[in-house]
Amino acid sequence: MTSIIVVDFGMGNLRSVAKALEHVAPKAKVSISGDVSAIRSADRVVLPGQGAIGGYIKALHDTDLEPAVLEAADTRPFLGICLGQQVLYESSDEHGEDGESVKTLGLFKGQVKHFTHVSADPNAMIDPNTGHQYTIPHMGWNQVKQTRDHPMWHGIDDLSRFYFVHSYCVQSELDEDVAGITSYGVEFTSATARDNIFAVQFHPEKSQHDGLRLLENFVNWDV
């Protein structure tokens, strides 16, 4: 029986992720846990997250889970969701408690930027159809352009819509790390992939059929 851990370090609601995994993998053992040994022994690891990244990375440091998470990201099928994607990059310009940009895990080259700081063009975040600024957070169902084939995309049409809610977005430096992009005034990396890691900005657990399919693909992903 495959075991899946949803990593918990006290940052918000993880029940939805766990429920969705249970729904697509009734035979798997799905647990929400902040226990280092449980994370070390799990077959598959999900790193979810919402809220502000400063508090998120601090909680990750403070709970001693960081080594276990890094080890999982190095060795087993690993799915990052929302902040769980952003935190894999080098830094975020979402201000930490000291007002500086936040240094993150650095497994992927690139930065996390506020939508309004991505482009130097002041009109980038103006909707050409309405002349009005794109609302922030980027909230709702947007399309993901699959930039390459990947087992996690199986059964999901290119340009399918997923549910997003975020104000900061990933700007990857390396094309080979990108599995999907989305456009909201500016384009950003909505799906990241390398080896055993897949990470998405959107919420598969809230993205109905296509989101559940992605989670099912994760459960069956043979790295």
Partner: protein, 275 residues
């Protein structure tokens, strides 16, 4: 590396592929003591079923989110909404918002832990605006929807709307546009805007109000109050500039399905999620 180089390097992206963020349709379920009800003008309440079944039906029809408004009066039954949220969140995998009676951080925490994605804060925001700040600091603004109930107090060339509480009975003197700006500044991730003049009338959204609020804040706005037919939904987006439209009775009593609503919006040139 700039966004431009990312954009140029990530082939095979062809311009025109992206259709953009979809406008959302959100059915709203009034829930009292664990059962779905719908108040017409908040007075004549009829029972329209089991929340889990109704939510699942809307999910099948392609609802983009579901909102519950908890109108449970007795404090003894306050926890029934938590069970409803738990049950719905285990069967329906789209975003859930819960509003009604949320006053302290622990109310927010318990709802989010039960499976809600966002909570709607209404009266508590009016009496204690700092609560919105605290809640968004704690849980992130993505989880905080501020509900604004507005009523027109001046018409003519310079219309004004004010915030009302207690189901539209009590005025507060707060200007609706100023209040919307303040709530966005305080960390509201989204605004649910209800016209108390139109709620329950089926005469359509107050488009002037909707447009005024949408054009004054940078966070997404959900238009609510007064939907009687599908063209009202279209008008809420195209004329009101709303990011999402919320309706209850036209869906509850089977006048239209969410699917039909999306088809009408598509026909009007609005980008929607097709399921």
């Amino acid at each position: 590396m700039t966004w431009r180089s990312v954009r140029e390097s990530q082939t095979p992206v062809r311009k025109g592929n992206f259709m953009g963020l979809a406008k959302r349709i959100i059915p709203c379920l009034d829930v009292r003591d664990g059962r779905v009800v719908k108040g017409v003008q908040f007075v004549d309440i009829r029972d329209a079923g089991n929340p889990v079944e109704v939510a699942a039906r809307y999910d099948e029809q392609g609802a983009d989110e579901i909102t519950f408004l908890d109108i449970t009066a007795s404090s003894d039954n306050r926890d029934t909404i938590l069970h409803v949220v738990e049950d719905v969140a285990s069967t329906v995998f789209i975003p859930l918002t819960v509003g009604g009676g949320i006053r302290v951080l622990d109310d927010v925490r318990r709802l989010l832990n039960a499976g809600a994605d966002k909570v709607g804060i209404n009266t508590a925001a009016v009496f204690n605006p700092e609560f919105v700040k605290e809640a968004s600091d704690h849980f992130g603004s993505q989880a905080i929807v501020v509900s604004i109930d507005a009523k027109q107090v001046e018409s003519g060339d310079n219309p004004r709307w004010e915030i009302f509480t207690h189901g539209g009975r009590k005025g507060t003197g707060l200007d609706a546009l100023e209040w919307a700006r303040k709530m966005a500044d305080y960390g509201a991730g989204e605004i649910l805007l209800t016209s108390m003049d139109r709620d329950g009338t089926r005469d359509g959204f107050d488009l002037a109000l909707t447009r005024a609020v949408c054009d004054t804040v940078d966070v997404p706005v959900i238009a609510s109050g007064g939907v009687g037919n599908l063209d009202h939904l279209v008008a809420g987006i195209n004329e009101g500039h709303a990011d999402a439209v919320l309706a209850a009775s036209i869906f509850h009593f089977g006048d239209y399905t969410v699917q039909q609503a999306k088809q009408r919006m598509r026909d009007a040139g609005i980008e929607v999620r097709v399921t």
